[in-house]
């Protein structure tokens, strides 16, 4: 039986799970939850599944996972453990991912969906988080590495990528971070990368279209 993901299409955290599943070339049974405008995640029926009333929720192997990092770890362990990376190098970025939810993630929900938050504090914390990530990625590049926690992509990158890439949705500009820009390109160039609203696919990766063939079709 396929794992079942309770999902909201616009959620950065749900996207982390959808993205890793795609990169691992594994299918999930995706169930849409009407987060907005329906607030379905706060209904009695949803709360029996997850009393915390949060998304995503992943049902797999007879368990119900409600922590996004747990879901990423489970997917990696089950399909390709190389994505787990070196635990001591990866863990700080899973911690950063939680801070990003609260800074850049909240700023985005505030600006787009009118969520309640202190927008000034959220954006300021978001800038501090981005500067920390930029400094780290710059240092990694001096050693010839592009990803957060080693020479190849790991769940550290998947956990941090969505909120960083969607920062402009919350009014936080990404222009000042050249190393982050190159890292985002590397993530978006991974085989089987899938996009979400606000993160476009890289059209440069597709060849120039053959318009002559199209007009004959």
């Amino acid at each position: 039986m396929r794992p079942r993901l309770h999902d909201y299409a616009l959620s950065a955290s749900c996207y982390k799970v959808r993205l890793l599943a795609a990169l691992l070339d594994t299918r999930l049974d995706v169930v849409a939850v009407d987060f907005h405008p329906g607030r379905e995640h706060k209904t009695a029926s949803f709360l029996t599944l997850n009393p915390a009333g949060t998304l995503p929720v992943l049902e797999a192997d007879g368990t119900v996972m409600t922590d996004t990092a747990d879901m990423l770890r489970w997917l990696a362990r089950t399909h390709d453990a190389v994505w787990l990376g070196d635990g001591t190098r990866v863990q700080p970025w899973l911690d950063m991912a939680i801070r990003l939810n609260e800074s850049l993630g909240m700023a985005r929900l505030h600006d787009m969906l009118h969520a309640d938050c202190d927008i000034g504090t959220a954006r300021k914390a978001g800038v501090a988080d981005l500067r920390r990530i930029e400094a780290h990625l710059w240092a990694r590049r001096q050693d010839g590495e592009i990803f957060l926690a080693g020479p190849r992509a790991t769940i550290a990158d998947i956990a941090c990528f969505p909120n960083v890439a969607l920062a402009p949705d919350g009014g936080v500009n990404l222009d000042p971070y050249p190393s982050i820009r190159l890292w985002m390109r590397a993530v978006r160039s991974l085989p089987r990368f899938v996009e979400m609203p606000g993160i476009h696919r890289l059209h440069e990766l597709s060849p120039v279209p053959d318009y002559a063939a199209a007009s004959q079709a």
């Binding site: 240092a139 001096q142 222009d175 050249p178 820009r181 190159l182 007009s215």
Partner: protein, 203 residues
């Protein structure tokens, strides 16, 4: 009135196939590098519906706007409008050009037709670009490296031994300065030092 060249990015931060935004004397620019490595700087605005070209995509020797795929070649002329693939786009559809040069691992831009010489930072290696909330004067003061000439300050910093440093200071927004740093050694120490400078500038 500042004439001449403004540093906008480090070469290492703009590999082939990438487009980035830049800011030159209050104007928004796109700087991009083609597949063959050729650099161009244009106004960051597609003539079609005003979408930022810095969000666009590079294919070969062209940059296309992400909105409708309007494609521009190295001269800035529009060569393809995907909604009308058989149409030869009118010659009047073109991007706004700026001069763009690369030297010492730094990318510079200037108004088209500038005759000024490129600034010379000496034989230093590029280190890092980072943005600070403060004026170029405030940054120069915090760095303790004298007054700006050609958008640059130079000096020696004691970071466990003397390090020769050059900082190109670019106004990158209202009250914002982007520092493009070069040094003769110790890049990690220079990066840490830049972050300390930022803390001083930002109070």
């Amino acid at each position: 009135m500042i004439e001449g060249w403004t540093a906008l990015a480090l070469s290492a931060d703009l590999p082939p196939g990438v487009a980035v935004p830049g800011r030159l004397r209050g104007e928004d620019l796109v700087i991009w590098r083609s597949a063959s490595g050729r650099l161009r700087a244009w106004g960051d605005r597609c003539p079609h519906r005003g979408m930022r070209l810095s969000h666009g995509f590079v294919r070969g020797e062209t940059l296309a706007c992400i909105y409708h795929g309007w494609t521009y070649d190295g001269t800035g002329a529009c060569t393809l409008i995907p909604a009308h693939p058989d149409l030869e786009p009118p010659k009047s559809i073109r991007t706004q050009g700026y001069d763009c040069r690369e030297a010492a691992g730094v990318i510079f831009a200037a108004a088209e037709g500038t005759g000024a010489a490129l600034p010379d930072p000496g034989s230093l290696a590029p280190v890092r670009s980072l943005q600070m909330e403060g004026t170029t004067d405030a940054v120069a003061r915090a760095a303790g490296m004298g007054t700006l000439a050609d958008g640059m300050v130079r000096g020696t910093v004691d970071l466990d031994g003397a390090v020769a440093v050059a900082l190109f200071l670019q106004t990158s927004g209202a009250g914002m300065t982007t520092v493009h740093a070069l040094a003769d050694r110790a890049p990690l120490a220079v990066s840490d030092w830049l972050e300390r400078i930022r803390e001083i500038v930002e109070g």
